[in-house]
Symmetry: none
Subunit: 218 residues, 2 copies
DNA sequence: CATTAACTAGTCCTTTTGGACTAGTGTGTT
DNA sequence: AACACACTAGTCCAAAAGGACTAGTTAATG
């Protein structure tokens, strides 16, 4: 276990720099890359990092939904979720989505090093009941707002989340297409899927729903 | 300006450590003391620090209220407020309570060093408009956050705000017209004004800007 | 190997949106 | 009275968005 490369995703540059320095206290850490958002991390051109540290609360795509995208981009990389709060549902959601561990930002440097070591040696924190929860939690995820009949509740794919994030940034289909290097028609397809998944018919409605459901935040 | 001693008050150990390391990049910094809460900071037995960095969001006493306590405990020490959000009311409150400056945690290490230098040399950041409280209610609250330049900021009329709110709820022009008992053409006029006031060209962009500026909230 | 799902790309068509206009009606203000 | 301003309503037009399709490619899965 040497020449480790870590990737930090957090919107606070201050926090990133600080965490980066803490990580580099370990001499086995060769490189710490920083990204200010999920999409920025996704667009980095680099080989698979050994570990990904992902903040939950970020403007734009939240860390929870970011897991989907970043697991798609960096398939073999374990993800440690970082959060300012200790909300148990956050932790459950993160682990259900496939995070390897959950760390509160109030943790000390020692705790962080300990958890990282655990994750890197293959001991997923709280992985003992992941398989059972995979289904139940994914349902529970959005059932919070589905008291009334809300059957359009499939979860969005990584690409759809990406498109949704850009919609929420106010981008037009044309701009999204340029940004994703696909045709505008393709974007339309994704937008269409997103709208139908969210059960709405306008992108501005989608923005509202995405916020209410915690998919994106400001 | 040598042998500086700084005091950080923040509930996140990780953040404290990181910020401390950033501060110590400056060789004039002799010591960085950390405290996890306002009361912990207050009960420290130490001489007056040269600078106090205080987080706004903390369990227990918030930073805003903490200013009063810490200015009493460390009378001559300037206070830089730290916040995760850019909420203008937070910033105004902090400055009104006597903070010397306001820093977003998304700031880079360079920005931090710059602001600290400004504060230590006596140039209070943004203290120029503290006295005009009567305008700040009606008028725009954005001139304060001029660190990141934002341009078009005429104020919206009541009707325009109403329309903007409905836009942000995802309503179409037709629905808005029905809700306000006016013609769709009228709504178009208002939407057009709103877009131009916000300096955007799409309603989804307007939603984003409206949220960032705190014009509407969820 | 077959199947499925996701991503891609396209067409055709309708509705919506937004910009650039003109203009009438109140409501204040000077 | 004159003026400014907000709100109202309209037209014309171009661009954008969205629905309903078909279809090829790729990756994963059984």
């Amino acid at each position: 276990m040497s020449a480790q490369r870590f990737l930090i995703v957090d919107d606070h540059a201050l926090f990133r720099t600080g965490l980066s320095m803490i990580l580099q206290q370990d001499e086995s850490v060769a490189e710490v890359i920083e990204a200010g958002s999920v999409l920025e991390a996704k667009n980095l051109t680099l080989d698979l990092p050994n570990l990904l540290l992902l903040d939950i609360q970020m403007p734009g795509l939240t860390g929870i939904e970011g897991i989907t995208i970043l697991k798609d981009r960096f398939p073999m990389t374990p993800i440690i979720m970082l959060s300012s709060s200790d909300k148990p549902q956050d932790k459950q959601l993160a682990l259900a989505q496939g995070a390897a561990a959950f760390l509160n930002k109030a943790a000390t440097a020692e705790e962080i090093h300990r958890v990282i070591k655990q994750v890197l040696t293959g001991n997923l924190v709280d992985d003992n009941h992941l398989s059972k929860q995979e289904n139940t939690l994914n349902n529970k995820h959005r059932q919070s707002s589905s008291m009334i009949g809300d059957e359009s509740d499939k979860k969005l794919t990584a690409r759809q989340l990406e498109v949704l994030a850009l919609i929420c940034e106010g981008k037009s289909n044309k701009l999204i297409a340029r940004e994703l290097n696909v045709s505008e028609n393709t974007v339309r397809g994704h937008v269409s899927s997103v709208l139908s998944c969210l059960g709405v018919s306008r992108r501005s409605e989608a923005i509202m729903v995405a916020q209410k459901q915690g998919i994106i935040s400001y």
